[in-house]
């Protein structure tokens, strides 16, 4: 299940955002929404999961008569 983890430091008000379980460009939609509300982040880092692409494998069923 995709999740967004927000961490707010109440001593400084700084917000950090982790997007988890959202592979590929779908992640950008949430990041875009965050930027729309918060402005440009000072730091932005994509991780290995970001580069995963959904793979579709054709399924072949053989029928025995």
């Amino acid at each position: 299940m995709p999740e967004i983890q927000f961490t707010i430091d109440s001593a400084s008000g700084e917000l950090q955002l982790h997007l988890k379980g959202i592979a590929g460009p779908a992640c950008d939609d949430v990041a875009k929404l965050a930027k729309e509300l918060l402005g440009q982040p000072a730091a932005e880092q994509t991780t290995a999961e970001y580069h995963l692409r959904t793979q579709v494998r054709p399924q072949v069923q053989t029928r025995r008569s």
Partner: protein, 131 residues
């Protein structure tokens, strides 16, 4: 984990969330307009103007007006040095940023139709939104 973003700036991008955050920290009465003048505690007009203003009578006895000027990057606070030191015991901007961040979380939760779990550990507020 696929993306990691950090937002440290004291600029408030969204007007509606800024107003909600101000209400959350006890400043519900604001004046809105274009290039509104700001006044000091003695009624002297200050050189700055702002689009959102907390008038000094709603801020504190010895306070100056607090303004938020609209810029292409969002609303930038205009707070006198005195008010930075004294308003909410010197924590006005920090508490506003925290309240704004919490409003952002709720807005994201609403838009993704998710559920939120909130946890507080010391000075850290952790909110997980699942959808």
């Amino acid at each position: 984990m696929s993306k990691y973003l950090t937002f440290p700036d004291v600029t408030f991008k969204d007007r509606r969330l800024l107003l909600a955050a101000l209400t959350d920290i006890g400043f519900a009465i604001v004046e809105e307009g274009k290039a509104l003048p700001l006044y000091g505690y003695q009624g002297d007009r200050r050189p700055e103007t702002a689009e959102i203003v907390l008038r000094r009578q709603h801020v504190g006895r010895a306070s100056n007006d607090v303004g938020f000027a609209r810029t292409p990057d969002g609303y930038v606070p205009i707070v006198s040095e005195f008010d930075r030191r004294t308003l909410l015991n010197g924590a006005f901007l920090t508490r506003l940023r925290t309240a704004y961040s919490e409003q952002v979380v709720q807005e994201v939760r609403r838009r993704v139709h998710g559920t939120a779990i909130r946890r507080v550990e010391g000075q850290t507020i952790q909110i997980t939104v699942r959808y």
